[in-house]
Amino acid sequence: MGLCMPTDVEEWKSEVYGQEIRDHLMEFAEEGWESIPDDEHDAWFERFKWWGLYHQRAGQESYFMMRIGTPNGVLEPGQLEVVGEVANEYARGPAENPEFGAAYADFTTRQSIQLHWIRLEDVPEVFDKLESNGLTTQQACGDSWRNIVGCPVAGKDANEVVDALPVAENLNETFKGDEDHSNLPRKWKVSVTGCREGCGQGDINDLALEPAEKNGRMGFNVRVGGGLARNEPRLARGLDVFVEPDQAEAVSGGLSALFREYGDRENRYNARMKFLVDEWGAQEVRETLQEEFVDFELERAGEDLRDQYTYNAGTGPAAGSHDHADGAAADGGVAAQYPGGDHDHIGVHPQGDDNFYVGLNVMVGRMGAADCLELAELADDYGSGEVRLTQRQNVIVTDVPESELDAFLAEPLLDDYAPDPSPFERGSIACTGTEFCSLSIVETKNRQVRFARWLKGNVDLPDGIEEFHIHLSGCTASCAQPQIADVSLRGMKTRKNGEAVEALDIGLGGGLGEDPRFADWVAQRVPADEVPGAIENLLANFAEAREDGESFREFVENRDEETLAELIEPEETSYTDPYMHNTKLTWYPYAEEDDMDDGPAPVASDDYPVESDD
């Protein structure tokens, strides 16, 4: 390391990291929140992340967010019930959320689950319950292999070209807990996809395996160095490497080891793989991988399927949609009532066997604990009990026989979690926001629910536009993936009628597909209560100005910034926003008495506030 100065985080990691953190965590849990020395909070909270625990923000001291990593988003039969039970019993805080109630689970953009208001003292019991049911929080956060993402219907999809699920599962089993890969310079996000839709979002991962064909053999092309954070979004770059499924472990491990050895540990902001790829170029990464980290000859890339990608591809409804090509949907059955949708897996779709999967929309990924339990029961009654999570924060019930479809679709729970949501509901993604996150500067989830509700009731999409993604992120960390949405919203602040109010920067025209592009940011600091009006006006202006058949993304691509900026006309409407008041400064944005000093935190194990010494 020579003269380099490691960061605080690197120093803490060198003292205690990885597996051994658990012993300390259990000891603190036993002795209670107050046993963590004040001057060691930062170090321990950083380490706890490796075990999936994030300390919540100021005003909520002693409460943690807990992330459960579910590889490829697969919840095996019975596991959603466990999540619902844990949420119901342990994820209850001192205040309720007006949209979602007192206990709920969040499904994330990495097909994981987040619970809030978890107390340190409850962690051992929660771990016991999760682990005895095959679930874990290990490496859900921290500088290591994160939850592996992919097509949420891998192994089920009637149209997939490679079953990527065994590959993702093998990578998960191999690298979770592997000490050689448990302390990397920064997080390591992996996507493995075998479907035709491109829904694995490989382009925004550190490592992406995407389906490809080489000399009649099916496997994956390898891309590296994608990611959205730090105002420096990058698309993963092709490594010109093809791997067959049984080589995926060796090449993925080789790349993770390369990142471990050559990634920047001096500057966390420069540590992600994308910056190493910037510095070296894909070719040097390939050469180094070949020379130092794999012991067989790497093959050149195969023929990819990117030109067939339909997921978030910005091409409009005509392209893609493989449903109609296969018999099960083409015969006028139930699946035919849910045309399209295979890109994001919402609706009813045929599996490779004779069964169907049903994708349900979960607004901003949040589901009440009672609803989790009910859905788990429905999945058991109508399907195999398996439930899967998508990168659009939604759920899929798999293995439903055709004979059960009508009855399942008639279940009252599906009124709230629809298989045929409006495009605005379906296209919504929101990060955690000021409710719990210490980085965010605006409220996000409840606001996005209100946006979608208002847009659904007041705005029609122009002809031929059936998909419209609106992603809301509370800060530049980009957890809601704002740069790859049709409308990108990101937290800011402005002044309105003399008051400081929450506002959003607006970007347009981002998305993935064969030729992904990041949003053009065209408006800054639009007061949050004027954003729905801005979107309404934008869509009306787009409908009027578009050329024949132009998709929204094409429309944005074909126009200059000034023109686009003029199409956004912020305006107050019948939409009302109860969260304009700088929620970052509250202890909880929805509390009746929301001043920072009104919060009960920190609380001791008996739920009473910890007395302060002074």
């Binding site: 490691p6 960061t7 605080d8 730090r230 105002n231 000021t434 530049t476 920067d505 910034e561």
Partner: protein, 107 residues
């Protein structure tokens, strides 16, 4: 249009500072209140590295949708003496403004 250059999150020092971007007039003259000047919001951040920091960084970025300029931000590198000098001067001027404002308010 490119994104903001400075990160903005809850740790940012000021996410809504008032900024005037000074511009020279087309005729080459300028002044305190050039017609070309642009008032906008901007981001101001003060930071130093997390471990063994060797400088203080003062960063300023005006909202570029308002300035009409390509997105850019300024980063001023300060050693501790300079940072303290700047802080002292900010405090001194703050005192003057506060005193004057309170006087005015009291009238």
């Amino acid at each position: 249009m490119p994104d903001r250059l400075l990160r903005v999150n809850a740790y940012t020092t000021m996410d809504m500072a008032s900024v005037t971007t000074l511009k020279r007039r087309a005729d080459g003259t300028d002044g305190d209140h050039s017609a070309a000047d642009v008032e906008s919001f901007g981001v101001v951040n003060v930071t130093a590295g997390r471990r063994d920091p060797d400088e203080i960084r003062l960063e300023v970025e005006a909202d570029h949708t308002e300035t009409g300029l390509r997105a850019h931000a300024e980063r001023v590198h300060l050693d501790p003496d300079e940072a303290e000098e700047l802080a002292a001067e900010l405090e001194r001027q703050a005192g003057r403004v506060r005193a004057a404002t309170e006087e005015t308010d009291g009238e």
